[in-house]
Every structure is written in C-alpha cells, then in structure tokens.
Symmetry: C3
C-alpha cells in the first residue's frame, strides 16, 4: 500500500470519529475521550505521510508558537520547533530561570503579554510534583480570560510537552509505534506491556513517562504491568485512573515488585528509570527552601538507594522471559545504555542496538503528534482540511 492510499484510508478512519479537540488544550490524555485520542494519532500519521510525500500542511499565515521549557530538553524542543514550523508559525522561546515558579498575577499578566499574536504555547515543566500541571492550568485560565475579555484576538492552544503528571506527546508516540508494529489498535487488546523501573546511575528523573504509559495503554485493552522496587512509587491518583481505564477497556492493570514477573510473556517492555515520588517531593521542598546541603545529601542517599537495584536491567536474560524472547522494546530516549552511556544502566548494549531503529521510529512520531494536537485544536473539520493538502 503506498503512502497516498494509506493516507486516504486514515482520513476515512478519522471521518468516522467524533473528537472533542476543537478549541481545546491538550494537557493530559486522561482528560480526553477515546475518539479524541484516536483523532490525535490519526492526524499525526496523516501529517507524517504528507511530510514523506513532500506535501506542505501549513495552516497558519503567520503567528507565534511559544515554548516554555522549565527543564532541559533537546528532543522535545526540536519536535516542537519542527511541528510549529510545518504549521506555519514562528517560534519564540520564553526563557525562565528554572527555579523561579511564577504564579498568580504575574503569571496571568505574562501569559497575556506574550500572546497578542500567539497561536500555541508549549510547556515543559516536569520537575516538581504538584507543580507542572498546576502551572499549565493557570496559564490556560489566564489566556482564556484574556480571550474572553477581548485582550487577545485568538486564544493560544496549550500543549503539554511534559508535566509532573503526564507526557502525552511521548505516550501517544509510544502508542503509535505499537499500532504500527502490531498492525492496529484492535491488535493491542490482550497484549501485555511491562512498564518497568530500571536502574540508572542518575537521579531525579520525572515520573510522567510511566504515569503516562500506564494511563494510556490501559485504554486500548492492553494488559499493563507496572513494576518497580519498593519505594519507587508513582503518584497514587495515577494508579487509580489506570485501574479504572483497564476495567473499562477490558484490559488489566497490575503492579509487581519484580522485573522478571513483569517481563514474563510480555509483548512489549518499557524499562526506564525514575525517581521515587517521595524523593521528588522532598527535593521540591529543599529546592524551595534553598537548602543546598540537604539537596546534596538527598542526591547521595538516592543514588545509593538506586545502586541497590542494579539488577533491574533490561539485559538478554531478562528479554528471554518475554513472549518468544522477542518482546518489542520501547523507550522515550535517551536510554542509559550499559557500557555505552554509563557502566551499568537501564538496558544492555546488545538489546538496545537490536531495537535502536524501533526507538528512533517511536521518537519520530513526536513532531507529528505535537502538530496534530495543534491542528485538531485549530481546524474544525480536520479531515476536510487534510484532504485539501493531497
């Protein structure tokens, strides 16, 4: 099937959906209904095909896209830059001192002051539990007020580029890779995915990736197993929603403290390090109080605790436990690869190399997922507009 045939099949699928994305922000996948999630993914696939066919998909004559990165980023930064460029917007980055978390009046004012000709605001704020999503909500309210009060001629669409709760542009890219790999969403039903903690000689990695994965894959009927050592808990409310989603979709959501259990007979594995929620919360307190000594001690303590779980590595033996020894390996990248990026890490060199291309393809959906979120928010009849590009 060539690209254009694929493309029209996808547009047909899109036409059958009733997404509720027009005029909306995209902050958390669990705020969206299934049709909306599917529409985001279908439009992403269509935009990717248009790109492959060298057919432009510009929807703006002019306007700004603003990115606010409160954490370092290369991949997501370039994904966002690519997405908004393709849609026809100019990119302006708002630099904020990372520690300075402005709220209230200042935030309301700044959000409006930068938005007079702004169509999109992309925010990454993933370091502090309780902060990122709250911050995005405040920005959203500020620009809604500005638009309703006539200050802004258009309401900028917010896109969550990773918060403390969810990383929707990542998890939807992960899911698109699964859709492609297994041949459709229907094929995911009953497939087992192991979202597992893995050892890394680093500290303070956010929780949004595992939280995002368990709350998205459960909606598509997958058997989701979350594995981590004792103490490496995710935010409790994200476990509740994941269980609910599994119940509704006919999938399942289980937890274990054994990587082996999670990997056994898995169709997909997602081994990735994260910091324990309690440590992240403690860290936020220490950062706020400016306690440098405390921060140093916390880091040392946390690294020492990590080091007791070096056996949580996705190596060849671990992979042998999976279905036919050949589960698909997923990762949001960059992975901590043993003997490559560190002495001992999340994944063995040979395993990573075998799946390297798959992870690149997984990442390759992200610019189009971001573009799709914007597209669906701005274009009422997405399918018609997409057809006009062919």
């Amino acid at each position: 099937m060539n690209n254009l045939t694929k493309l029209s099949a996808l547009v047909k699928e899109l036409e059958a959906l009733q997404p509720k994305l027009y005029g909306k922000d995209f902050l958390l996948t669990w705020q969206q209904d299934l049709d909306s999630l599917k529409a985001v993914m279908l439009v992403a696939e269509i935009l990717q095909l248009l790109h492959k066919e060298k057919k432009p998909w510009r929807i703006f004559d002019y306007g700004l896209a603003i990115s606010i990165f409160r954490d370092n980023s290369t991949r997501t930064r370039f994904s966002f830059a690519s997405a908004v460029n393709g849609l026809g917007l100019g990119l302006s980055e708002l630099d904020e001192v990372k520690s300075q978390i402005a709220h209230g009046e200042t935030l309301r004012e700044t959000a409006n002051m930068i938005s007079f000709l702004t169509e999109v605001i992309g925010i990454r704020d993933d370091m502090y539990p309780g902060e990122g999503h709250t911050y995005m909500t405040e920005v959203a309210e500020a620009v809604t007020d500005g638009f309703n009060e006539g200050v802004l001629a258009q309401r900028p669409t917010l896109v969550n580029l990773q918060c403390d709760l969810d990383h929707p542009t990542q998890s939807l890219s992960d899911l698109l890779k699964l859709k492609d790999y297994f041949g459709g969403w229907e094929q995911l039903k009953g497939k087992k995915i192991a979202m597992s903690w893995a050892y890394s000689p680093s500290y303070g990695k956010p929780l949004s990736v595992p939280q995002g994965v368990i709350n998205l894959m459960t909606r598509f009927g997958m058997e989701v197993v979350l594995a981590h050592p004792k103490g490496y808990d995710l935010l409790p409310e994200t476990l509740v929603t994941a269980a609910d989603f599994a119940a509704k979709s006919g999938g399942s959501f289980k937890q274990t403290q054994s990587m082996e259990d999670a990997f056994r007979n898995a169709d997909v594995v997602y081994p990735k390090s994260w910091a324990p929620m309690a440590v992240m919360q403690e860290r936020t307190k220490l950062l706020r109080s400016g306690d440098k000594q405390g921060l140093k001690e916390l880091e040392l303590h946390c690294l020492a605790e990590n080091a007791t779980h070096m056996d949580w590595e996705c190596d060849e033996d671990m992979m042998k436990l999976t279905k036919n020894g050949s589960a698909l390996y997923e990762h949001c990248l960059p992975a901590d690869i043993s003997e490559v990026s560190c002495e001992r890490g999340e994944v063995a060199k040979s395993v990573f190399e075998r799946y390297r291309l798959h992870t690149y393809q997984e990442a390759g959906y992200k610019p189009f997922v971001i573009a799709s979120m914007i597209f669906n928010s701005k274009i009422h009849s997405a399918a018609d507009k997409l057809k006009s590009f062919v």
Copy 2:
C-alpha cells in the same frame, strides 16, 4: 460599527495625512511631525483590525529582523517577535554582553556584517543616560554608509525599542489607548494627564517612559503634569521640548513635587517609578570603572532615599482626587502592585485590578505599533497596500 467598517474609516483618515516615514528609522517621537505620528498610530490600528479579522498583512517574502536587547525584556521582546513575524521576516537575536558597549569601528563593522539580508533592526538600550540613543544613531549611520557604499542591498530600518531618552513604542501604545478610551485625538485636548513618580522597592528603572509620555501627550493638546519628589529629575532637555510642544499644541506642561496636585481633577494618571537622573549617571560611571563596592553603596543609598517616599502610591484615596474619582489609570507594565508583587509599591491592589484590563489593552497595541513603524518605513503608499489586504 464592525471591524471592516472601522478599518476603512481609518484608511480614509490615513489617506488624508502626509507622513514622512518612508525609508526612515523610528528613534524618537519628537523627531517626527504630527502627521507621521498619526500615521504610525492609524496603521497600527488597521493592522490590529486585520489581525482580528484573520487577514494576513505580510509585506516581505523573506529577510531578517534583528533584535538587540541590552537590557532584559519579555514584553517588548515578544511584541517585536510578533510584529516581524506578521510582516514576514525571520527573527534573529544578537546577544551582547550587556556591559560591553561597542562603538566606532567595531560597531560600524558589526552593523553591516549582520545586515546583508536584514530589513529591520530593533534595539533596546535604556540603562545608561547618554548611551542608548547615541548607540542607535551610530548603528543608523553605519547601515546608511553600508547601503550608500553598495555593501547592503537594502537599508535596514531601525526601531527604538527603548533608549535612554524615549520609549516610542510604549508612549504611542499609551496614546492609542487614550484615543480609544476618549473617542479620538480631538477628545484629548484639554484633558489632564498626571505623569507621576511612584514608590517602588526597586532601583535603577529608566527614565524613558516618563520622558516619552510628557513629550508625546503635550503634542495632542493635553494638560500634562509631571510630578516627582525633589531629586527625581528627568533629563533637562526633555523638559524643554515638552514645554515647547505644549505651547504649540495649545496644551500645557507643568511640574510639581506633589502627587496630590498632579492627580487633582486628572482625566488620566500614569504613576510609575523611575530612578533619579543623577543616580543613573553616577551608576553609569561606576559601572564603567567596575566599582562594585560603589555600585552596592549607590543602590543602598538610592533604595533608602526611595523609602522616604512610600506615600507616593496610587491608592484609592489618591484616585478619589481625580476627575469624578475615576481617572483612567495607565501603566507600561509590569507595575509594582502593593500586596501583590511587593509589600508596598506604585499602585494599590484594588486600583490596579479595576484597571487591569485597560492596561492589558494598552499593552496590546505595542506589537502593532512596532509593525506599523516598519510598515510605514518600507511601504511608500501604506494606505493602498493596506487596502489590498482586506
């Protein structure tokens, strides 16, 4: 009256003017005749209406706009980014170490080296009395030479994004708000505006806003009163020109050392902190000589002096003195709001909140004022071009 009707009324007004903006820089409002100032404002209003109507107003196929910020900025930075994006230019920011004030050969060369495909250079350099405007003039001369000598195929237009003397994109936005609020320039005649110093727990704020306001509002027949405590003088030459303008326009320009006097029966109040000129000059000397101890002492001295004028606050009692107790409050933002951004500041929380939307609208003109300055400099027959966008 709908937007398009308004728009054609404004174009008609524009056609009756004889501005001298084509091929010119915009550095100081007092270098421009009245028709030119009006043309900048009219085109800004028209571009804003086109934006509201989602009609593009691109005039460039390609080319760069360069911004040089020698002082921190968020609002002006995004206003400039928005303006040049709408006009079709790509934005490149030239980072300079703030303290390094290059002149002479180096400046001449750099100005040309960055301008081979550059249509606009926007500069903010407001920290040092005697520096900012001089710097802009040198850049202007450098690119004029480059153009005349055939080095540059086009001469970049310079836009003053705030210098030591004037802040024209701000004062013209302030004036557009007044025009809209009172129903036209004619309605401003005889209206009293209090440009008043106000207390702020900060230090070193530039003088360009009050200098810009007294030199612009006096040209439209307003009764301008400048109020500040003893010692908080503006640059003397800006007082002379303001008095001249008032005499010519049939308005007036008065000074007082009482905020109450200024506010009494005022139609508009503009309470804003600034540093005394003598302090700014001393500071420049100390910065140049690298005297860190001296700078610290000057700051402490200045903050202590400020603190003796905490009663210069635009609070509810002060507002009651104004015409019907309901003068329009203007501010360039961000304001130092008592109990919000600081314990005690320029304006009481309740006053600011009552006028918040007005200040946002005031700020909302700025991207279009900047775009208009560029538009008028690049397009010979602005009215015809604007009509082609509708």
Copy 3:
C-alpha cells in the same frame, strides 16, 4: 551591464558545468571538483543578484535548518540565519556546552532526533585539531544511516561553517571577491597571493582560514605564497594538497618565513593571525585533561612568543612592496587593526580603512555561498530553478 543581464550570463555559465553537488554535503573544498566549486560560486552570485533585484528565491515550503556552533560567532551565525531564511527554512540553534564533544552512540542518536523535519545542518567546530571535521563526518554518517533506515524522510545536508581543516564558506567568499575584482577566474592565473601570518595580541585563532585559502586559490592557477614565522605551522597534510593543486592548475605554492618576501610584487595579500598547530594540539590535550594551570601557562607562553613577531604587521611600508604598491587586501574579519581594536595588530589603520569596503563586500558573499551550497545539494537542475525566479 544591468543585474538581470549579468544574471542570465551567469546562468549560462552554470549550464555549461557538470557539478556533483546534488544530494551532497559541503565539508571541504578539496573534496569537490572544479566544476562543483564553480557552480557553488555561480549560484551564490546569482542568488545575490536576485536579492538585489528583490526577487525571492525560496525553495522550501517548510522545514528546519539547525546550526551547531561550538565556537562563538556573530558573522557566520547571521550569514547562516540569512541564507536559510531566504531559502524558506526555520532556524533552530542547538546549544552544546562547548567543551562537551559528544561522539559515538550519543551523537548518532542526537543527530537523528533533531532531524525528523530538518533539511540542513550547519556546523562550526574549529577549536580542536583533529576534532571538527571528524565530528562533521560522524554527523553526516548518522543522518545517512537514519535516512537509509527510513527514520528520516529526507537527509539533511551538512554545511561546514568552519572546522579544524577548512573554512569553505569563507574561502569561497574570498575567491568570489577576487573573481569580481580581477574580472573572472581566468584573470586569476599567475596572480600572486600572499597568505601571511600577522601579529595579533590574541591567542588560539584557528588554522582553517589559511589552510582553506592555500587549498582553494592554488586550484585557480594563482601563485600562492604562505608566510609565517618559524613554528607557526599549518597542518602538514594541508600543505601537501596545496602543492598538488598548484601543480595541477599551473599555479604555484611556496612557503617563506618572511612577510616581506611574500608581499613582494603580490597582487593580493591576506595577513591574518593564527596559532601554531603544536600549540593548538597541546591546548586540546590540556582542555581534555582539565588542566587549568597548564592552559594559563600555555596562553602566557604563546602570547610572549607572539610578541616577538610584532613586526609581522601589514603596514604602509609592507604594502609598498606589493605590485604597484596597491595589492588587494583581504581578510575574513574581524581584523585586529592597530590603534583601533588593539594597540598593535595585524594591519595598520590606514591600510585597513583604504580596503574596508572591499572586505565588507568580501564578507557579503558569505550568506549567498551558504545558500548556494544548500541550493545545489537540494535542487537537481539548479539553473532551471534559478531561471524560474527571474
């Protein structure tokens, strides 16, 4: 001859060539055959004429150009920004900590992750002998793999914005200036150019400019003389290739340790400071081992050594030695001008001022040389495409 007549003459010249630039990177001039070099220069001249005639030359509907600057840059940064803007791309800069030289897996991954919608990657990495070109080659391999493996829908074109070996966008601009000044490539045959070291109170300037000049001008039949004090050697392999090129083109390549010898009867002089290769290599070692004390000592030692060669200045006496006392002075800018940018430098104030405009014009080719490299790599039939712009 007006611009459009010139333009069609140049297109005709272009049509007679058989360049091998389509789908290729531009890393080193000595990897390119003569037709390819000429095609880059001709297209650059044509694009410059289109720009003068205000005719757009956009070839992309959308897409990113990424710049990676591992050394400070203003001129090249703006040249690249201008070039890619004119071609229709959005610019994103990848900031890397300068000292962090990533290779291997990390580099392969990053190169792909930033390239999903990327058409061009421009790299400047000129500080470390043995590093810059190697780095570019690794990036090139990474995106070739990504493209061949289907990860990237298009292969980004790499442009060398200065490496440890060559500075092709500079040397081709230098050569275009010579072509214009002397009236054509044929006129360069037998002309003598002195590529001479010159004193500067600075330290650590890269070798790529002299290496690039001796390896490009020798290909056009020029009599190239390389002059420097004992110890200020270039990389040996670049001397071998320069000699080879001279032999093939019927020009010559000689070395001397006397600035006077080099200048005597020269048609063109290019006096410029650089660091001795041995010092650059030592410096790289010290940087890698983090030996700050060693770096300080090396700098002091090197500056002291430099200071023994203050007589290597392009002053009026030195210029009198050249053909009719009026050789053309070239420089990549910024020059260290005696009594202007430093007490004693590469060139006397009066000499520089006399040739200032020429150096500006020389620099003015650079944005178009960069654009041309991209243009030729992306457009199969460059001449036809260029004709469509007129």
